[in-house]
């Protein structure tokens, strides 16, 4: 299998050593602990709550119904009693509607998922979303309106610090492959490709053992961020370029994260809804771990379970260091898309003092989407949304390479992210004008 690579990208320090060798540990449910379950843990419409205050729920019980086409079901992560329907802190939107459940002492049983004849329906029933971080409802992705010839499994895990996918690939190798196989059969996809970054030699070896029996191609990926970006991965493995503004579907490809495949397998074979996931807890914590954690567990509890902070914490990040979100408080609950909890002390953090852009062009060199961040930054500062649209800001994948490499510490990716809403308005107005 030839490897084509992709343009741009950066090589941050990977810092995966603290957890890459640690087997996944189950974080037990604590009686009396409160689990805050947001109704919007995915891209799309928030789920509609199905429970009332003081209602008893069983783990795995449907408590939030997918509302609309792009939405996902939410299940009770633990058995217990609903103590409140109230807003919960959210790392991005600040607040989000949620259901708070107090765990009871009886946690042995998890209600099974209703396995349907139709594969996509089972996936919907299990509340599965993309676990790589984008949290797009998987049943939608698995209902392609056109022919798909390749299923690409994303085992890049290019974000520094994170090792949750790495551990899953080692410990659940065959289950992941079986999950991918289920998808392949259901959608009648010819090719299965599994891409894993070369720095995970043990995972490559583990998958290699199954390559012939399950008939897939294993591609060792260059160690470069953002190798796991959907469009970059497709370009690197298949040399296909997803047209701007389009989905991978356009070039006949569906990309799924390895964790998502495992969730699909668990749903179909074990009737297990998505109520827990593996999260890498690392950085300045006493015992860095890869933890299997129930959705809704507050970040504080997870950190406590890892022995607490090491030194004085200054920044807590949910997700990876390149694309994750800094938390303002630790009541934020663990969600389906949470791949990491990283703790940084003052001394671990870079100096973010900004100065003027010196037009060095490093952002241009590293942008995997071929954009010119330094010029776009001027447009952001001046709120020139028309120009931003012309310079293709909507093609930005917010990977953060530009900001990472900027010697003047400009807030490039962050500025593009926040400008997109205004740019959307510009584009809509243009569209309206074109159509008279």
């Amino acid at each position: 299998m030839p490897f084509f690579g992709f343009r741009g990208g950066v090589h941050p320090d990977y810092n995966k050593g603290a957890t890459s060798g640690k087997p996944i540990e189950v974080m037990p449910v604590k009686e009396g602990a409160l689990y805050g379950v947001p109704l919007a843990q995915h891209i799309g419409a928030p789920a509609k709550p199905l429970v009332a205050k003081n209602q008893e729920v069983k783990a795995g019980e449907l408590i939030g119904q997918a509302a609309g086409f792009i939405s996902a079901n939410i299940h009770a992560p633990v058995s217990g009693r609903v103590v409140a329907l109230q807003s919960l802190p959210h790392p991005v939107s600040g607040k989000t509607a949620g259901i708070i459940i107090e765990a009871s002492g009886e946690q042995d049983e998890i209600l099974p998922v209703n396995v349907s004849e139709k594969f996509q329906e089972t996936v919907l029933n299990a509340g599965i979303v993309g676990l790589g971080g984008a949290t797009f409802p998987s049943n939608v992705k698995l209902s392609p309106p056109k022919k798909v010839d390749t299923l690409l499994l994303n085992g890049a895990e290019c974000e520094p610090y994170l090792t949750c996918d790495h551990r899953l690939m080692l410990e659940k190798t065959e289950e992941i492959i079986k999950g991918a196989d289920l998808i392949r059969r259901a959608l009648n996809i010819e090719n299965l490709i599994i891409g894993i970054e070369e720095n995970k030699a043990d995972a490559l070896e583990a998958f290699g053992k199954f390559a012939s029996s399950y008939k897939f191609e294993l591609v060792p990926l260059e160690v470069k961020y953002p190798q796991g970006g959907e469009k970059q991965l497709i370009k690197a493995c298949l040399n296909r370029t997803v047209p701007e503004g389009m989905l991978p579907l356009e070039v006949g490809v569906i990309v799924h994260n390895v964790g998502t495949c495992l969730a699909v397998y668990d749903a179909v074979e074990n009737k297990k809804p998505l109520i827990e996931r593996v999260v890498t807890v690392t950085g300045a914590v006493k015992e860095p771990k890869n933890l299997l954690v129930r959705v809704g567990t507050p970040v504080q509890d997870i950190i406590d379970y890892c022995g607490g902070f090491l030194g004085e914490p200054r920044k807590v990040v949910m997700g990876g260091p390149m694309m994750g979100f800094a938390l303002s408080n630790l009541d934020v609950p663990m969600m389906k898309g949470t791949s990491g909890i990283l703790v940084f002390r003052e001394e671990d953090l870079p100096d973010l003092k900004q100065c003027n852009c010196i037009r060095c062009g490093r952002c241009v060199d590293v942008c995997p989407m071929g954009l010119i961040p330094s010029v776009m930054d001027r447009f952001v500062v001046r709120e020139m949304y028309e120009s931003l649209a012309d310079w293709h800001v909507m093609n930005c994948i917010e990977c953060g390479c530009c900001s990472y490499d900027c010697p003047s510490r400009r807030n490039l990716a962050g500025g593009f992210k926040t400008s997109k809403r205004e740019v959307m308005k510009v584009l809509k107005a243009r569209e309206a004008e074109k159509n008279g």
Binding site: V317, S328, L352, C360, P407
Partner: protein, 330 residues
């Protein structure tokens, strides 16, 4: 319950260790070989000129920012780079007021009035040089004979002409080159010819330039296309009429071309950011330099060429935007 205990900022939360002040320090570091050669060749004069330029440039920048009540950002080291390059672009022993005038034009007129770091359309050191060249042509072309460190400390400098200047005046007066051995390749390479304070040593500039490319501070595209363009075009001219110009190797080693190609044309602020833009920029610089050297009144042409190309940099950046990933041509 906003808790100020935790720092909240946009991702990414990790950054490349390279910062702007370090970038500028790398450039100064890369200039060290050239500085050492000039001190070796011109001794005390060199030390004095560098010192004056550094004091004036940094001082003026700090003063201007203080007056404007802006944060004093002298520690970003950009004024230091300008100071060293300005000194290198002056004759070896300029009077102190000439250095002050050059520093004022470079730092205040060319950089700070446009908004400081990153905002200047033209390379400050070159604007300083060109201003001085036009305002005080005699002082700016009073070359002294290169000597060793020892004799340099004695104030017995002999005035002389630069190789390019000598040849230019010979061609203007008699139509062809008269003197021979004026621009010996090894002299040009090592830097034991008369000329500006710094940059006459091709090897020293080359070491610094390659260091910057190796450290990924600059890309090779501008220096390479610049030098290659000059080499090819002067080479063609030389093949046709060898009596009227130096050979192409002498051309690329002589004068400020090497320094210009590696250190001034590559000035981030004033050169294009995309690779194809940089290739066009380098070619433009080369073409203009050759035109000025062969057909213009000035023997050099590097400063003018780069400044003219600086002027078209925004245009190049605007019209040579590469296609973004998966861009569909409409």
């Amino acid at each position: 319950m906003a808790d100020n205990k935790f720092l909240v900022s946009f991702s990414p939360h990790t950054r490349d260790p390279l910062t702007t002040d370090k970038v500028m320090m790398f450039v100064v570091l890369a200039l060290v070989p050239s500085i050492l050669v000039s001190v070796y060749v011109y001794g005390f004069y060199a030390v004095k000129t560098y010192a004056l330029a550094v004091i004036f440039c940094l001082g003026l920048e700090a003063l201007f920012l203080k007056i404007r009540k802006l944060p004093v950002t002298v520690r970003d080291n950009s004024a230091l780079v300008t100071a060293v390059l300005l000194a290198m672009n002056m004759p070896p022993s300029p009077p102190w007021w000439l250095v002050l005038a050059g520093s004022f034009v470079a730092i205040i007129i060319s950089k700070q009035v446009f908004g400081g770091l990153g905002q200047n359309p033209f390379n400050p050191a070159l604007v300083g040089r060109v201003f001085l060249l036009i305002a005080w042509p005699a002082e700016m072309t009073s070359w002294i004979e290169p000597s060793t460190l020892k004799s340099g400390f004695m104030f017995d400098a002999v005035s002389t002409a630069t190789p390019l200047g000598q040849i230019k005046s010979e061609i203007i007066s008699s139509g062809h080159i008269v003197s021979t051995g004026m621009a010996d390749i090894s002299d040009l390479f090592i830097g034991t010819v008369s000329g500006c304070l710094g940059g006459d040593s091709a090897i020293a500039v080359l070491i610094g330039g390659l260091f910057l490319i190796w450290k990924r501070i600059i890309k090779w595209h501008i220096p390479f296309t610049y030098l290659a363009t000059v080499f090819v075009l002067t080479g063609l001219y030389w093949l046709i009429s060898p009596e009227k110009t130096l050979n192409p190797l002498q051309h690329i080693f002589a004068g400020g071309l090497m320094l210009g190609a590696f250190f001034m044309a590559t000035d981030y602020v004033t050169c294009p950011m995309t690779i194809r833009g940089q290739i066009l920029f380098g070619f433009g610089c080369g073409l203009l330099t050759v035109v000025i050297r062969l057909f213009g009144g000035y023997p050099e042409g590097v400063a003018f060429s780069i400044l003219i190309m600086n002027a078209v940099t925004p245009l190049i950046d605007n019209y040579m935007r590469p296609a973004s990933f998966g861009e569909v041509k409409s």
